[in-house]
Symmetry: D2
Subunit: 107 residues, 4 copies
Amino acid sequence: MDIQALQQNLRDFAAARNWKQFHTPKNLTTALMVEAAELAEIFQWMTAEESQAAPLDPATKVRIADEVADVLLYLLQVADHCAIDLPVAVANKLVKNAIKHPEPSRR
Amino acid sequence: MDIQALQQNLRDFAAARNWKQFHTPKNLTTALMVEAAELAEIFQWMTAEESQAAPLDPATKVRIADEVADVLLYLLQVADHCAIDLPVAVANKLVKNAIKHPEPSRR
Amino acid sequence: MDIQALQQNLRDFAAARNWKQFHTPKNLTTALMVEAAELAEIFQWMTAEESQAAPLDPATKVRIADEVADVLLYLLQVADHCAIDLPVAVANKLVKNAIKHPEPSRR
Amino acid sequence: MDIQALQQNLRDFAAARNWKQFHTPKNLTTALMVEAAELAEIFQWMTAEESQAAPLDPATKVRIADEVADVLLYLLQVADHCAIDLPVAVANKLVKNAIKHPEPSRR
């Protein structure tokens, strides 16, 4: 996935619709949270097992995929507007997570 | 960014900590939403302008980057557990968005 | 507002629809978060001033009121299923907040 | 629970701390969503059964009660700043819900 090309695409898409004024980190992070809620809503009344089986239904899988994509598109825009290098941010966080949650045998 | 390698890394990380039982789509999408809220919390009392300036402060930028990474890591796990191909999902959603929101001149 | 009567009403409503099985604290808190996101969505692209003016539009006010009510209805159910006395919980939290955030002149 | 007295209390609390400038419907609804996420976070890795048993643990119950109160306090402020009468909003929404979800025997 070419992150920078996607971010440029999203910038152009917003500029062509005169949305640039709306795309502050404040607004984009709220929009991201709203999309994340729409994704969680799909599973909110399911049991654990039903949620695991849900993607086997093609229509549900499309719905999940669309919400997952919405979350990712806003996340790419948040990263872009905050000048955050996503692969670097992820690599740093993985290190922090490994320190915070050591493997049981190493505890 | 190598999505599949990251997803395998996250699967291994979870397996080594005996977290596999917790990683249902239901739980992972809730966790994703919680992380998205932690990202939005950073900006919740800021003005639009303050939110744009926030990443200029190095400590705030690290905080944003960590939350952005947390959201992405859960999103990668949701996609993995739902067998969703992220680049394909994004490409499909971009087409839908372009149809839903045509450029003003084409309206 | 008679909290206990509302909670009984919501219990009866759920029982009559065979929803009792879905109404765990886990599911109800996720549903509450989803409704809170729908409320925030109304304001997500507005400026601070636009959000203050939004309730002056009757149709928008109804939309806000409906989402506010949805949040409250789930909150009442969460409190009910967790045996939490809302007025007591609020009174306790107000004391904690006053300690956490003393008045500037008292600092 | 005396809603109007609580709302006046919250207005005074905010005014004494010079927070009035931050308390727009836009910001308050985001803060509400963040608190709702903190409530959901308590239950995110629990099974349905564990979430039902969680309030039996006194420390967990205090944590739940505090988050429930935080959500309610922001909800009261949103309603106040949007001039929404909570009992009326709830009564209206209950009627809409009954129409949207008729009892099975009436279907």
